[in-house]
């Protein structure tokens, strides 16, 4: 919403300086987005008179002008077809900057003729796209005065961001009313006395809506005019429209635009001679079309409110009129439409048709219902003033909706809800200044809600109105009292685990990334089938059209981007959502990480090796350990999803509960993502990790260490190559659960000497006695049990 300071002063008597007005507007909730005086950008340009214009000796299209700038005469070469002796225009001297073209003017020589400066077009001034010729100022314009003043542009233009609840401030008068209520001046009286009609309108309004849909257009008022002259509107009106970025068209159209912005009351005028019979408000019939004022043709459907005559649709209610029935310079008779339209239907229709108009913007935010009547009077006065002629009596259809409502404010709520100490009478006075009519009953303020404030619902709204005018800055800030002296933990155990996993993974050298929750379906399908529920109906782009089934996809793509930039060996992780379906339970919190390329850079003292599945397994185990998963009891098995390498991947599970999966990413998946290998990844499903039992408090069991020397013995077994090493370890462990403290694998190899399909697994077993130092005989006995148990469980033989 834009307006000039002068325009505001039409409604507000005030001495307040501009910056004070701007500050107060913002603090009233009418946020000032900008205050600009176009004169500032045009300061270098002055009015000038072309003393003489003659043909350039050496160029057909150029003229050599002697220009009186008010400070003397200069010679200017000008290419505009309308440059001629005696005209007045806008002169830009050498050294000035032309805003519309970005050109810095210098004294120059154009085909042998010296040129000092320029006569400007509207486009060169940055005012419009008009570039057919240079600006022509009226003959009575003084020479040498600032061009901005002569063009009516030396008015500060204020632009507000008006919130959707304040439709009443989409007119300058509503803004003035708020300022007056806040003590910034006095609101001037509003003149809208009925204007007697001189004849009966030849066109009458009809409303024809299906039962129950009358609220689509509850009331419409109109009147006819005859004998009008529709020329250009007067300069003051054109200036105001231009200042806020509207193009003057003709007096009649300019009047409707002016009242739209002045009073927030959109209007429409029909050329009476282009309307056949009475006008009817009704819903469109499916397939009806309208060639609208914006030059486009719209196909309409049932439920869209239209204005129609006997021949068809003439306008889309509250949105835009038709081109054929609009007023032109030759219009002498017209019909004025002042309607009320349902905000919801107007918004829906506008959205469906893709039309954003100043009318729609106001109707969908709710109009003052009384404006149906006063609008017809204000507009009639202006039409008669500017275009002459005479006005008919009003024609009306429908009824004014009952807007009379009241709300009650308990004054103590200003303090107990609003935190502000505003006395009752001061609060009532604020509401009165805003147009509420208040009276005090039983200590409460009973307020009649003004017709232009459909947003006011009840007491909380009255509190807001009073506080807004009183000033939020005048509400004392109080500390929020805690319920307990010390705070309780802010995080649940599950939330803490996310934080622990994050810090653990970063500590292991992985960089934390945050990537989109959505991705391209074609790439997502490499990871999982995407159910319909995870497809976006309106993705922002085709490569972000489904919710991600796995974070690894995004991390792999990020690795590719980094590799493209020369950083091939990245280690990234992200903790965030991945989706199985669209239910609240279908969203998993996953800690996922990806290592790409080499584990470390080439180095003089450390060998280079590519990342492998065990790097990912280590990351997964570390994350699981950090979040308190019983890592000792986890089983590593095959069974990772198919986007992992089938032979170099696995899951970590507790019984059937898969807590994590890890491994090399499948080469075909990497190819599908256009990512060079190798890449390994892991996914830890944080929500599946069982919560530690809280029973028993924080105390740890007593430390139990043995005083006797531990003994280590090594064994090498030959087993089937398909036998997991873990089976050998577990078999060894179970040989003596008391004595055996640790079993670790220290060597694995396959070779011809072992026979085809066989491998050697060497383990180191630590025996920890508790009663006495072990004798050789006892050690031998345990060793024999280990060999026997491993042989029994895995079919292994001890390597000779």
């Amino acid at each position: 919403m834009k307006f000039t300071l002068g325009w505001l002063e039409e409604h507000l008597e005030t001495d307040a300086p501009l910056d004070e007005i701007a500050r107060r507007l913002t603090m009233l909730g009418l946020e000032v987005e900008g205050v600009e005086n176009p004169a500032a950008a045009l300061a270098a340009f002055r009015t000038a008179r072309v003393v003489e214009a003659k043909q350039h000796p050496d160029a057909d299209r150029l003229r050599v002008c002697i220009v009186d700038t008010g400070k003397g005469t200069v010679q200017v070469v000008c290419g505009a077809p309308n440059a001629r002796t005696g005209m007045k225009g806008v002169f830009a001297p050498s050294g000035s900057h032309v805003p519309g073209t970005g050109l810095h003017l210098k004294k120059s020589n154009i085909r042998g003729v010296e040129s000092n400066g320029m006569l400007l077009s509207e486009r060169e001034l940055g005012l419009s796209d008009e570039h057919a010729g240079i600006i022509e100022l009226p003959d009575d314009t003084p020479v040498g005065v600032p061009a901005a003043a002569a063009l009516g542009l030396d008015q500060p233009v204020i632009e507000l961001a008006v919130t959707p609840n304040r439709g009443d401030c989409l007119g300058v008068r509503g803004i003035a009313r708020d300022l007056a209520a806040a003590g910034v001046g006095t609101l001037k009286p509003f003149e809208a006395a009925p204007l007697p009609g001189r004849f009966e309108s030849p066109i009458r309004w009809q409303c024809d809506f299906p039962a129950g849909a009358g609220d689509a257009c509850p009331m419409v008022v109109g009147r006819s005019f005859r004998g009008v002259r529709n020329g250009p509107s007067p300069k003051w009106l054109q200036d105001r429209l231009k200042a806020i970025g509207l193009r003057p068209i003709s007096a009649l159209v300019d009047i409707t635009n002016y009242i739209t912005f002045d009073l927030g009351r959109p209007l429409h005028v029909f050329d009476l001679d282009k309307v056949a019979g009475d006008l009817t408000m009704r819903f469109a019939r499916d397939g009806e079309t309208l060639d609208a004022l914006d030059g486009r043709t719209y196909t309409l459907e049932d439920g869209m409110t239209v204005i129609a005559d006997a021949s068809g649709v003439k306008g889309i209610g509250g949105i835009m009129g038709g081109a054929a029935s609009g007023c032109t310079e030759s219009t002498t008779s017209l019909f004025l439409e002042v309607a009320l339209f349902d905000p919801v239907r107007t918004a829906l229709t506008g959205r469906k048709l893709g039309i954003n108009s100043d009318a729609r913007y106001r109707f969908e935010r709710g109009l003052d219902p009384q404006s149906a009547l006063w609008g017809a009077e204000v507009a009639a006065r202006m039409i008669l003033d500017l275009c002459g002629g005479e006005a008919s009596a009003l024609t009306t259809a429908g009824e004014m909706p009952d807007w009379r409502r009241t709300a009650t404010l308990r004054p103590e709520r200003l303090a107990s809800f609003g935190g502000a100490d505003v006395p009752r009478d001061a609060a009532a006075a604020i509401l009165d200044r805003l147009g509420f009519e208040t009276k005090v009953e039983n200590g409460r303020i009973r307020a009649s809600i003004p017709s232009w404030r459909p947003d006011i619902e009840g007491e909380h709204c009255l509190v807001e109105e009073v506080l807004r005018i009183h000033g939020f800055e005048n509400i004392p800030a109080l500390p929020l009292q805690r319920e307990t002296a010390l705070p309780a933990p802010a995080l649940t155990p599950a939330q803490r685990r996310v934080a622990l996993a994050r810090r653990q993974l970063a500590g292991r050298g992985l960089m934390e990334a945050v990537t989109w929750s959505f991705m391209a379906e074609a790439q997502a399908r490499l990871f999982a089938d995407i159910p319909d529920g995870l497809r976006l109906a309106n993705p922002i782009s085709a490569d972000l059209d489904v919710m991600r089934p796995s974070i690894l996809a995004n991390l792999a793509l990020a690795a590719r981007r980094n590799a493209d930039r020369g950083y091939a060996d990245v280690a990234l992780f992200e903790i965030g959502p991945a989706w199985r379906d669209d239910t609240p339970d279908g969203q998993d919190t996953v800690a996922a990480g990806l290592r790409h390329g080499k584990m470390s850079p080439r180095h003089w003292a450390a060998p280079v090796r590519p990342v492998d599945a065990f790097d990912a397994k280590a990351d997964a185990l570390a994350a699981l350990a950090a979040v308190g998963a019983p890592v000792e009891n986890l089983q590593a098995d095959r069974g990772a999803p198919s986007y992992y390498h089938p032979g170099r991947s696995g899951v970590l599970r507790l019984g059937p509960n898969v807590l994590a999966q890890f491994g090399e990413l499948h080469p075909a998946v990497l190819r599908g993502l256009d990512v060079g290998g190798p890449a390994v990844g892991f996914e830890v499903f944080l929500g599946r990790v069982p919560q530690p039992k809280s029973k028993g408090g924080r105390a740890r069991p007593p430390l139990d260490v043995s005083a006797f020397q531990a003994v280590t013995r090594d064994f090498a077994f030959v087993v089937d190559a398909g036998q997991p090493a873990d089976a050998v370890v577990r078999a060894a462990q179970s040989a003596d659960k008391v004595l055996i403290a640790d079993v670790s694998v220290f060597d694995v190899f396959e070779g011809e000497a072992l026979g085809a399909g066989r491998k050697s697994v060497a383990i180191s077993v630590t025996l920890q006695p508790r009663e006495a130092t072990l004798t050789d005989a006892e050690i031998d006995a345990v060793a024999a049990k280990i060999v026997a148990n491993v042989a029994k469980r895995t079919g292994a033989t001890l390597r000779g």
Binding site: P164, G418, P479, P489, D532, M547, R561, R565, H603
Partner: protein, 358 residues
């Protein structure tokens, strides 16, 4: 006795002359070994009478001690020399780089959320979470945004594909649905913050289709607008580490709060850095207000008994302002150079007690 003095002199000279450990050992054997000269003399003492034996024994022991001590001293000298020689031979080029290690860093969004939790946690807020694929009721309806409300246009909503029954889910446009879910399941008093991902169909210099918010909600019987101001002023002072940072509460409009305000922080821009609490610039950092009675009613909470406030802050905005990150879009690119430059060491969880930033 002359004999003994001479032996002492000879042996000490031999010790001093021993050039290496082996030579020294030979001297030791020759003097103190089983058949060494001093040992042999010791054996001869038995033939003397008691008086003479005592005197001669003393003399001999003194020689033996002197020689043994000389051998020890010589051994240390030789060892020291040998070690010195070895160390001189095994020096390395200490300018060489160490073995590679990686240090991971936390994303500024995680750090910022942890800082917010640290501050709000001190004020008694607990962290709540909820699903990101939401239904219309929790994202809009319960928040006093009926279907054709113009405010829905302020939220460029991502919708999921329509279901066979005509309903459609959406990606939450704010973290406010978690307010609703919490109020539905919890009796007041309620004091929560909700950090999380949010989505709007908007992409340009200052908007990304996904971003993070922290929502705050307080519901009890007495909390009013003055407490809202106090809470956010304290938060901003702690977060930006500026005492009494000036905040401006500007009336605004949100369907789910009334009165509503937008919150601006006073700052001045000096190059790439912002100075808070000085200059005449104001930057918007939060939206807030008293919870609308319709929102309470939608959650079966009686607005005549309970009241409270809610606020929403953009996490990326906080991070950009505090850490001087110029471009929102770079947050989600996972560019290693960016992560290294703007990331945070994971060693310490932010707390007010120890300081927010490691």
């Amino acid at each position: 006795m002359e004999d003994l003095e001479q032996i002492r002199a000879e042996l000490l000279a031999a010790v001093a002359a021993a050039a290496g450990p082996d030579a020294l050992d030979a001297v030791r054997v020759n003097a103190l070994g089983r058949k060494g000269r001093i040992t042999e003399l010791m054996k001869g003492l038995g033939a003397l009478d008691a008086e003479a034996r005592r005197a001669a024994g003393q003399e001999l022991n003194s020689v033996k001690a002197a020689v043994a001590e000389a051998i020890d001293r010589r051994k240390r000298t030789l060892d020291d020399a040998a070690l010195e020689g070895r160390l001189a031979a095994e020096s390395v080029d200490i300018s060489l780089p160490v073995r590679p290690e990686r240090q991971g860093l936390l994303h500024p969004i995680s750090q910022t959320i942890d800082e917010v939790i640290a501050i709000m946690g001190e004020m008694g807020f607990a962290v709540a979470e909820g699903p990101e694929i939401e239904d219309d009721f929790h994202n809009f309806g319960a928040l006093n945004i009926p279907p054709e409300h113009p405010a829905r246009q302020m939220h460029d909503t991502f919708y999921m594909k329509e279901k066979p029954d005509g309903s459609r889910l959406l990606l939450r446009t704010h973290t406010s649905p978690v307010q609703i879910r919490t109020m539905e399941s919890t009796e007041p008093p309620i004091r929560i913050i909700v950090p999380g991902r949010t989505y709007r169909s908007d992409s340009d210099m200052t908007h990304t289709p996904m971003f993070h918010q922290v929502e705050g909600l307080v519901i009890d019987k007495t909390t009013h607008f003055g407490h809202l101001k106090g809470c956010l002023i304290e938060f901003c002072s702690a977060f930006f580490e500026v005492a009494n940072v000036p905040l401006r509460f500007r009336p605004s409009y949100f369907p789910f709060t009334e009165p509503s305000a937008e919150v601006d922080i006073n700052c001045s821009r000096q190059g790439n850095t912002l100075k808070f609490g000085e200059g005449d610039g104001w930057l918007e950092i939060a939206g807030c207000g008293m919870v609308h009675p319709n929102v309470l009613r939608a959650c079966n909470i009686d607005p005549e008994v309970y009241q409270g406030f809610a606020f929403g802050i953009g996490v990326e905005r906080l991070a950009m302002l505090k850490y001087g990150i110029p471009d929102l879009r770079t947050f989600f690119e996972a560019d290693l150079r960016w992560l290294r430059h703007y990331g945070f060491l994971p060693l310490e969880v932010p707390t007010l007690l120890r300081g927010l930033v490691p």
